[in-house]
């Protein structure tokens, strides 16, 4: 190539030698310009939020999966790890990690969501919030592990056992009571996430996974399951993760995350650079099964149009929706509304407040809105 230049045969056309690429590496890293990050929050740095506005498809990169810890990230030696199953069982049994991996593995895509996710959309109307700040306490992974139903048969759970305590090996021994029927349905002890071992902050080396149920019940660093004929009434299911209602009661064991969606583009801090076609896209999910439709409004909920659901549409999993929108350059208010296979429709803020009361806690799945200004700037808004 160079010789030809030297010989002058192509002297009129300059050469553009291309630099050789770098060698292969044992572990890859993101492209230098791709600085997607979680946002760490909480007075004790006990949460971090997934950058929903920077992601595509439905899978969350494992290192960007949201975090919520109740006593920090536990350090568990996988060689010392043990899961004890006892209480109302025929054979109290200890499983180490090697034993868990000898059972037939199951792999499924599921979302996780902190039950406090989206409180901004209920009572904090600040306009300068990104999807990450509004709803970043949800992520989706492919989880691999052993079906809990398999382990129940292995230890011989008594027919009269109706609940089990799930206890973590973190410093605070996170503990929740779970109905046995969930264990027989689709629960698993997960040891892998997106093809590799769990991340430490996701419960390495093993966690409970309860598809569709509020995040804190998916106990990380799971060390003990105790079967009983009644719930244990731990702090996190009495004083903490209960939902006060306007009628002077509080809902307890409110496990399932109801159907919800959020537009992740266009959303603060993005700006539309001109009129014309844009892909309005976002995520929808339901703890009760599949998303069956997502409707999008560009006029603050006056009229709605059907969005495209991207495949795959999986039960209890983030579903990506897309809505091609020809922006005319005028102010607009964008909303998305999810419907799940039970016929549940994501409510407006006023509907949810009427059902729960302004002081309720957790499970904030009301419709979110984004105002697009005539100059293309996008800001967060609660339900128009």
């Amino acid at each position: 190539m160079l010789d030809r230049g030297v010989l002058g045969q192509a002297a009129a056309s300059p050469v553009h030698p291309r630099p050789l690429g770098r060698s292969a590496t044992a572990v890859g890293v993101r492209a230098p310009g791709e600085r997607i990050q979680r946002v760490v929050g909480g007075a004790l740095h006990e949460i971090s939020l997934t950058p929903l506005q920077d992601l595509h498809g439905i899978v969350t990169p494992a290192d960007l999966h949201y975090e919520r810890h109740h006593a920090g990230v536990a350090v568990v030696d996988p060689h010392q790890y043990e899961l004890l199953i006892h209480g109302m069982v025929d054979r109290p049994t200890v499983f180490d990690l090697a034993a868990l991996r000898r059972f037939p593995a199951v792999s499924r895509f599921h979302f996780l969501e902190c039950s406090g996710n989206g409180e901004s959309a209920y009572r904090n109307m600040r306009p300068d919030q990104s999807p990450q700040l509004v709803d970043g306490l949800t992520s989706t992974s492919e989880w691999t592990g052993v079906s809990l139903a398999t382990l129940l048969r292995e230890v011989g759970v008594h027919p009269r056992a109706t609940w089990f305590l799930a206890e973590g090996g973190d410093a605070g021994l996170m503990a929740r009571s779970i109905p046995v029927e969930k264990a027989r349905d689709d629960a698993m002890i997960a040891y892998a996430q997106n093809g590799e071992a769990l991340r430490p902050e996701q419960g390495y080396p093993a966690r409970l996974l309860l598809p569709g149920w509020e995040g804190n019940t998916n106990v990380k660093w799971i060390r003990r399951l105790e079967f009983a004929d009644r719930p244990f009434m731990t702090r996190d299911e009495t004083s903490k993760y209960t939902d006060p209602l306007s009628n002077g009661t509080a809902r307890m064991f409110s496990f399932v995350m109801d159907a919800k969606s959020i537009i992740t583009f266009p959303a603060f801090p993005a700006t539309l650079t001109g009129r014309g076609w844009w892909d309005v896209t976002g995520l929808a999910w339901s703890g009760r099964g599949r998303i069956t439709r997502v409707d999008v409004s560009t006029n603050g909920g006056k009229t709605w149009s059907l969005a495209i659901l991207q495949q795959p549409v999986l039960p209890k999993c983030h579903t990506r929706f897309s809505f091609p929108w020809n922006w005319d350059g005028r102010e607009a208010v964008l909303m998305s509304r999810a419907t799940d296979e039970t016929g549940y429709v994501q409510p407006r803020l006023a509907q949810l407040r009427a059902a729960r009361g302004p002081g309720t806690r957790y499970h904030f799945n009301d419709i979110r809105a984004w105002r697009v200004a005539a100059d293309g700037a996008v800001t967060f808004e609660v339900d128009g």
Partner: protein, 194 residues
């Protein structure tokens, strides 16, 4: 050998062995009743990790404590996070009976939930302190310390007398003000928003 030549050879090898290795999926044996994995847990190792305390007192250990004893431990161990009297913070407020009527937490977002106005079971106070407190050193409190702290907090919340002794017999009998305020989840999916 060239790269394409290697590929051709590899494909030929696969083709040669595949028929003898692929079996038709018309018979899949069902799972066994048990796989026989894991090892038996001994009663001793279960006792060593079973820290759970239930509302009827199951799991409460031997030991006892009073509010007076608890006040000293609270000052030393808890006050820097929960305030000198359990009210001031900076972290969770533990003490306070207001509002005494109507349990209006759903109606009023300014209300703060405390042990006295929101916790339904006295045993949970023991279970949680023993399990998870103090935040930076959980597991460092002995049963007498925990009973004393529970007594102090229940007394500060005007639920027991300052002379009451808390132990495995007395604690489960303490009835909390919010005991009957909790209802089971009635959301079922479908068109109704609850």
């Amino acid at each position: 050998m060239t790269r394409s030549g290697m590929l051709r050879t590899a494909l030929a090898a696969v083709a040669a062995v595949a028929p003898t290795h692929v079996r038709r999926a018309d018979h899949r044996p069902g799972p066994p009743a048990r796989y026989g994995l894991g090892r038996s847990a001994t009663a001793e190792e279960i006792r060593a990790v079973d820290v759970t305390v239930m509302p009827d007192g199951t799991g409460l250990p031997a030991g006892s404590g009073t509010a007076v004893q608890g006040a000293a431990i609270f000052r030393q161990t808890c006050a820097r996070c929960h305030g000198a009297t359990g009210v001031e913070g900076p972290f969770d407020r533990l003490v306070g009976r207001e509002p005494r009527q109507g349990f209006p937490f759903g109606r009023d977002e300014s209300l703060v939930r405390t042990i006295g106005n929101y916790w339904p079971y006295s045993t949970t106070v023991y279970d949680y302190i023993h399990r998870a407190m103090p935040y930076d050193a959980p597991g460092s409190l002995r049963p007498n310390d925990v009973y004393a702290l529970v007594a102090f907090l229940l007394w500060r919340n005007e639920i027991i007398a300052d002379t009451a002794t808390m132990d495995a017999r007395t604690l489960p009998r303490v009835r909390m003000p919010a005991r009957d305020r909790f209802v089971n989840d009635d959301r079922r999916g479908g068109p109704e928003v609850r």
